[in-house]
Symmetry: C2
Subunit: 178 residues, 2 copies
């Protein structure tokens, strides 16, 4: 198998950015570092932006990815979003941290419902989709670290858990050496 110049744009929200990870890798950096260590010639572009909804991402993804993925290389795009779509907002004001923590269970239920709906759409479109919401809620590290942090974003343990889910996913491109 010939492996050429692979470049990936990860586009999405703060969970793509890796917000809260003191190692500045997030799950995206971890899975790319693993792929490089397996021998893939990978370039890693992180295009996660905090607070963004799917509407924000829809408005920019094509332009930002096109700049980074010239036609001469093996360009790939990974989308990850949803949590901000389900956040309730009051006018221009975000909920306070206390209110967000109070609503955490209800918010997670809205995320889970969205997750199931997105999985159905992805299946219809023939696009690989990895549902992570429920598995992260079950993962102790993610929930504990988010509680110790801002109520939403974990530290390195949570991101490592998410990276492990992607790494173990049969649809992930770089599960084993090329």
């Amino acid at each position: 198998m010939t492996v050429t110049d692979i470049r990936i744009c990860f586009i999405g929200d703060s969970f793509v950015n890796g917000t809260g990870d003191p190692l500045c890798l997030g799950w995206t950096g971890r899975v790319c570092a693993t792929a490089i260590q397996l021998g893939y010639p990978l370039t890693y572009y992180n295009l996660g932006i905090r607070r963004e909804t799917s509407a924000d991402i829809a408005a920019r993804w094509r332009e930002e990815c096109a700049r980074r993925l010239p036609p001469t290389i093996d360009g790939r795009v990974v989308l990850s979003f949803g949590a901000n779509d389900t956040t309730t907002e009051q006018g221009q004001q975000r909920l306070s941290l206390a209110a967000t923590l109070h609503n955490l269970a209800a918010h997670n239920a809205r995320i889970a419902a969205l997750c199931h709906a997105m999985a159905a759409v992805a299946q219809e479109l023939g696009v690989p989709y990895l549902p992570v919401c429920e598995r992260l809620v079950q993962a102790q590290r993610w929930v504990q670290e988010a509680a110790q942090s801002d109520g939403a974003h974990p530290h390195q343990g949570g991101y490592a858990a998410l990276a492990a889910l992607v790494q173990a996913w049969p649809a992930w491109w770089f599960a084993k050496a090329p």
Copy 2:
């Protein structure tokens, strides 16, 4: 000293992206991880794009940074570019790796000349500027790793050396704990 929500956009070329670093951090991820470990509440946005010249960066920096730095947070921008400006091109075709290696000394001389010129402009504008070209050429790890790699980009040792230069720079915001 009150420390609020600091978000930094690093904008530039492949050296900002961290191309070649198997840990997917580059110098930008390393200096941000160090700042977070010192206690700064930092969000790290990496906007390096391979092959880009200062003209490419000038065309996109304002838009990509504005999306990531809302007025309510402490937003900062770090620019790093130049090496691609001095690359000779023949029509649409890049030089072969062999030719690039052959020209490496001359190319480094052009980068160094540009570095001095940019330092003068930055001084005139009152913008902090860290010249790194000559110090990286003197750094054994950078040159050795670039030679073992694609002739331009180092692996993790070279990026760690560049991160150390930024970390030791008096103008760097996060040299010590807040």
